[in-house]
Every structure is written in C-alpha cells, then in structure tokens.
C-alpha cells in the first residue's frame, strides 16, 4: 500500500535546471565566438557556430522532454504557466545564441575599417554574457526557493539578484546606445551588407541582457515578499 509514495510526482524543477545548464553551455561558447569575430577568423566562427548549434539542439531536446512530461495532473507550488514561461525564456536565450552564431558566420564584417567600435563591442559582448550568468545563478537558487516556499531571506536574496540583473541591463543598454551612435556615425566606410549585419548583431547581442532580465523578473514574480 504505497499510496502515499505514489502521491509524489516527478518534479519538473530538476529538468528545468538541467535545461538551463545546457543553455549555459551554449552561451558559454559566445565569448570565443566574439573573439573570433573580432579577429575576423572565419574558420573559427564557423566551427564555434556549429558547436553552438549542436548544443542548442541538445537544449531543445531537454525542453521538449520537460514539456512532454508535464501532465495537467501534476500539482506544483507555482502555476504551470509560470513554469512554461521560465522554460520558454531559457529556450529563447539558447535560440538567441544560435542566431548570433549563424549571423556572425554569414559574411565578414571588416571591423578594421572602424576600429573605434571594437572596444565598446567587446565590452557589450562581455557584459551580456555576464548578465546571463547572473540569471543562471537565479535559476540555481530555485532549489532553495522551493525549500523555503518562496519567502523569507532566501526570497530577499533572489530579489537582490534580480535587481542586480536589472541594473546591469541598464548599464549595457547605455553601452549599446553609445556603440550604436559610433557605429552610425562611422558606418559610411562599411559596405552596405556588412553595416546591416553589424546592426543586427548588436541588436541580438543586446537581446541576451533583455531576455535575462525578463527571466529574472519572471522568477521574481513567484516570490512572496512582504
């Protein structure tokens, strides 16, 4: 008569964190990609891009696995929709990394023609990856949040982390604005396709911070703060 034991379903939180780990391995490749991009190393870009693509696919498999094993009959301490939102935001981050990798491999952007943007560009890349790392920390805290039912000092801690993400996002937005300004003013010396691709890349890299902030805020909505 193991009725009581059968009452406990398979928790989706561990797979959610596994998914985030896979997303992190995707985004962990981006710094190498940016380095190769700045060095105009087309071969390396190609290789890293393929690697990111593969990792993204793995993350997708985990994601589908979670979605398939999330029956309506599972009773969770948070809304199903919240869980699925978090999952799709994590997925969006992996997708964004893949997009960036694909676009970076499309055609060489002769950055040596506008050396002024190089520094800001690498700062932007670095900051965005950093913000993602913070968001990942928040997801790692999920275990402890469950332990204290989303309140108390643990919730305060997570709230602090989310606030930090928001602050960093604001800072990177400023960097992005400065970068865009230089890019537009010096853009004449670039061929049209390269200019356009540069804009897209800046936009997409900035999206990492934006998505990370959204993810943080989605977790923050679960907290019981007083």
């Amino acid at each position: 008569m193991l009725t009581i034991a059968r009452l406990f379903g398979k928790s989706p939180f561990a797979p959610l964190q596994t998914h985030m780990d896979k997303v992190a391995s995707c985004i962990g490749e981006l710094p190498y990609l940016f380095k190769a991009f700045l060095e105009q190393d087309a071969d390396a870009i190609q290789k890293i891009g393929e690697k990111i693509s593969k990792l993204e696919h793995e993350a997708d498999l985990t994601k589908n696995d979670i979605r398939n094993h999330l029956p309506k009959s599972l009773f969770l301490p948070l809304d199903r929709s919240a869980l699925l939102d978090i999952l799709s935001l994590q997925d969006a981050l992996a997708d964004q990394a893949e997009e960036i990798a694909h676009n970076a491999a499309l055609l060489p952007v002769p950055l040596e023609l506008i050396p002024e943007i190089k520094e800001d560009f690498s700062i932007l890349c670095q900051k965005n990856v950093e913000i993602f790392r913070l968001a990942r920390q928040v997801i790692k805290e999920l275990d402890y949040l469950l332990e204290c039912s989303f309140g108390g000092i643990e919730a305060e801690k997570v709230k602090g982390m989310v606030e930090q993400i928001a602050f960093y996002e604001y800072e990177t937005a400023k960097i992005k604005k400065r970068l865009l300004k230089t890019f537009y003013s010096k853009g004449e010396c670039l061929p049209h396709p390269a200019f356009h691709l540069g804009l897209i890349l800046i936009e997409e890299i900035g999206n990492l911070a934006w998505l990370s902030e959204k993810l943080g805020n989605r977790i923050r909505m679960l907290l019981e703060l007083h």
Binding site: M1, L2, T3, I4, A5, R6, L7, F8, G9, K10, S11, P12, F13, P71, K72, S73, L74, F75, L76, P77, L78, Y144, L146, E147, C148, S149, F150, G151, G152, I153, E154, A155, E156, K157, G160, E224, H226
Partner: protein, 473 residues
C-alpha cells in the same frame, strides 16, 4: 460445544490476521518519513511505532471497535438465530482479508476501513434486510470519509502556513524555530494526552470529565513544552548577531524606510521641502545599498538546513502521533467483528450492550505490532526511501494534521482511513506551496478505488457467508 470452540479459534485467527495485515501495510504511513529523513534508524522507528500503535489500540481503540461491532448493523435483528450473525461477521472478516491480500498483490490503494465497513454492510443488508442497518450511522461514517481528508488537509495547511509565516519567512529562521518549537511540542502532547485522558484510560479505571481531562493534558503538555524549551536552549546556537556587518533584518527594515520615504516624496506638494526630502531619500538609498551588500543574505541555505534539523525532532513526535492515532482507529477493523462474534459465542445470545474486552484490544494491538515486526519494517524502508520530499517541516505539518483528524474521528467512534487522512494532509501542505510536485492522478485512483471497494467487499462478504454456512452448518 465443539463447533463454538472451532468458531472461536477461527475468528481469533481471522482477526489476528487482519491486525497483522494492518501492521504490515499501514504503519509505514506513520514512520516512513522519519526513516526517510534519517531522523530515526529503522530499528528505533519499529520500536517506537510498536509501542505507540499498541497503546493507541489499547487505550483509544474501543469506541471505533464498538461502531464496527454493533453500530453498522443492528445485532438485535438476528436475535432469532445468533449463529447467522456469527457467520456473517466471520464472512466479513474473511472477505476483507482476501481483498486486502489481493490489493497488496496488485498494489491497489484499498483502505482496510472501507473494506470492512463495506463487508459488514453487505452481509447485513443481504441477510438481515435493509432495516437491519443503522442508516444514520452509515451516513455519519460515509460523510466522515469525505470530511476527514478535507479536515486533515485544512489542519495541515494551517500548520504549514504557520511554519511558513513564522519560520521560513522570518529574517532569522533558526531563532524563530527555537521560539516556536515548544509551542508545537505543546500541541502534539495536548492532542495525545487529551485523547488519553478523556474517556481514554477506561481500561485503567480512570475516566475524567472533559474539563478535568483538558486541564490534566494541558499540564502535561506544558511540562513537555518546557522540557523541549530547555533542550533547545542547550543546543549550540548559530550566532544570530554578527560581530561585524549588518543583519538581513536591518536591510529589510531600511528597505521599508526607503519605501515610505518614496511615498512622502511622491505625495509632496510644497516646493520648499522638496530638496530636503530628496536629499534624505538619496542618503537612505545609499545606506540601504551599503547595508544590503554587507547583510549576509548568502547564509540563507545553511539557515534552512538548520531549521530542518531542529524539525527532525518535532517530526519524530508527529510520527508518533500518527502511529498512536492509527492504532486507535484501525485496530477496530480487526477487533470489531471478533468482539461481536465472541460476545455471542460466550452467552449464545445477542447482548446489545456487550463492551469490547480489554484483552481483545491487547490482542489487536499485538497483532499490529507483530505485523510491523515481521513485514511492516520492509514497507517502512520502501516508503522512507520514496518520500524523501516530505522534509521534516513538511512532514510535521502533514502528520500533525492527519493525526489530529484521525484521533478526533476515533473519539467520535468513526472508522476512517488513515491513509486518506494522510493524503489529504499532504495535499494541504502542497496547497501552501510546500511541495514540489504532487500527482493528482493518484487522487483520482484513490476516489475510484474507494467507490469500488465497498460494493465489491459487500458482495464478497455475502459469498463468504454462504460458503461458511455451507461448510459449518
């Protein structure tokens, strides 16, 4: 007189088998979590459970047993031929035993209580006619089957809400646990003492009126709470006040101050004070940021571990409570029919006021203990390894809710399913956002098997009755 002796032996064996079955399968509900969280070793858990199951059965088991014995069907209907009643009760026991064996083989969530009530009901309605059944009593029992999981769920929900608001959401959870633990000890002892003192110690010729019983149990519980208070005090404390840096409480207070300042700032209409307010606001904001950086929010994980460690002791207490309540309620399933049969065989006529003899309750208790010792420990081990998710705080809330409900029902003489009460309590904790994932599918299975058990067992008991009649008479 040869037949009577055979019947006597047979019914005792059947009753003992039922008690064995209850001990083997259901005690795990009480002790599983404590073994799973390594609060108790398996040996200790079996030992503690044996003592509490036995005392629950012996001291508080009589009122539910009387319900099964003569509350469901009116024995007076069978005045003309008491042997029919004897065979009917034996048939019910046999049917329940068979069904339970079948259920444990196929792993069906069948409740012993539902089975025995269904069996007695079936035989009574078939042989004695519909008027032989106390329908109002049946109404009470059935509504208690619906209400008991709900009630235990509500109690568990409230207890866990209390743990949440006062401990988990506190800025210093460890200190809050120290403060609240004696209160929980008081509650546990009060529940158990009250059920013992109020019409409980009848076996020991002690029977107090309610007010007297209440004050006695309060006094004992207070003593226990004081003892637990001193014990907790003596446990080495994690330093709550830091030598340097700020406390999380200070950070939160500052944040509140900031919040209020902002309100003042937003609602300010006069220009003359506006600069002053903004200056103070900026200062408070800067201070709050600094304090937040130094406040050790990072310790939260170790704090929660320490809370769970303290709750291990409370959870042992609540597990004992469940074991006691389980003994009190479920011994009736085995002993009730036996008492009915033995009462008749003694005098060869139906005595409407025969009480449950104390030795029979002891036999039932012993049967449960033997079932636990020979087989139940395996089930405890299995359950313990499967429900590690019920950590001490959650386990305490769920077990307290279930045990309080079961004891309450036992006092009212209502046979309820302990498993269902516990399931309700676990859901109560889940409702308070305490558990990671609960399977609603299992709930559906439980309800279905609840509905199926009763007619199935009724039919089976009628069949057994005719079989026994054909063999013995």
């Amino acid at each position: 007189m040869g037949l009577a002796l055979v019947l006597k032996a047979l019914v005792l064996i059947l009753g003992f088998y039922m008690a064995w079955n209850i001990g083997a399968n259901d005690v795990a509900n009480a002790m599983g979590t404590s073994v799973g969280s390594k609060a108790l070793s398996l040996k200790k858990a079996v030992f503690v459970a044996a003592i509490l199951e036995f005392s629950g059965a012996f001291f508080v088991g009589s009122s539910v047993s009387e319900t099964i014995q003569k509350g469901i069907i009116d024995p007076a209907i069978f005045q003309a031929d008491p042997m029919i009643f004897v065979l009917g009760m034996m048939g019910s026991l046999l049917a329940t035993g068979i069904l339970l064996q079948f259920a444990s083989y196929f792993g069906l969530p069948i409740s012993t209580t539902h089975a025995i009530v269904g069996a007695v009901l079936g035989f009574g309605a078939m042989i004695g006619g519909l008027h032989a059944i106390h329908w109002s009593e049946i109404g009470w029992i059935v509504s208690s089957w619906i209400l008991s999981p709900v009630l235990s769920g509500i109690v568990a929900y409230l207890i866990f809400l209390l743990i949440q608001k006062k401990i988990l959401f506190a800025l210093n959870p460890v200190e809050a646990t120290r403060r609240l633990a004696p209160f929980f000890v008081f509650m546990c002892f009060n529940v158990i003492c009250l059920s013992l003192c109020y019409h409980g110690l009848a076996q020991a010729d002690l029977d107090f009126p309610l007010s007297y019983a209440f004050s006695i149990s309060c006094a004992i519980s207070l003593a226990a709470a004081l003892l637990s208070y001193t014990l907790i005090r003596n446990r080495p404390a994690a330093s709550s006040l830091l030598e340097s840096g700020f406390h999380p409480a200070q950070a939160v207070s500052l944040e509140k101050a900031l919040h209020h300042m902002q309100r003042v700032h937003l609602s300010n209409r006069s220009d003359s004070h506006s600069t002053r307010i903004s200056r103070i606001l900026d200062e408070v904001r800067a201070l709050s940021d600094d304090v937040k950086k130094e406040a050790p929010f990072q310790d939260s994980t170790t704090q929660y571990h320490s809370v769970e460690k303290t709750f291990v002791f409370l959870q042992i207490l609540s597990a004992c409570l469940v074991a006691f309540a389980h003994g009190a309620n479920d011994v009736a399933n085995a002993i009730g029919p036996v008492a009915a049969v033995l009462g008749i065989l003694k005098t060869n006529e139906i005595a409407p006021h025969s009480a449950i003899p104390a030795w029979l309750l002891a036999v039932g208790g012993a049967g449960i203990v033997i079932g636990l010792a020979t087989w139940g420990w395996r089930v405890i081990e299995t359950i313990g390894s499967k429900i590690t998710e019920l950590t001490p705080t959650r386990g305490f809330a769920a077990e307290f809710g279930a045990a309080a409900t079961i004891l309450f029902a036992s006092k009212l003489g209502l046979p309820i399913s302990t498993t269902h009460a516990l399931v309700g309590a676990v859901f109560g904790v889940g409702m308070a956002r305490g558990l990671r994932a609960l399977n609603l599918q299992t709930l559906k299975e439980i309800v279905v098997s609840w509905i199926v058990t009763i007619p199935l067992c009724a039919i089976l008991s009628i069949a057994m009755f005719y079989l026994l009649k054909w063999i013995l008479l």
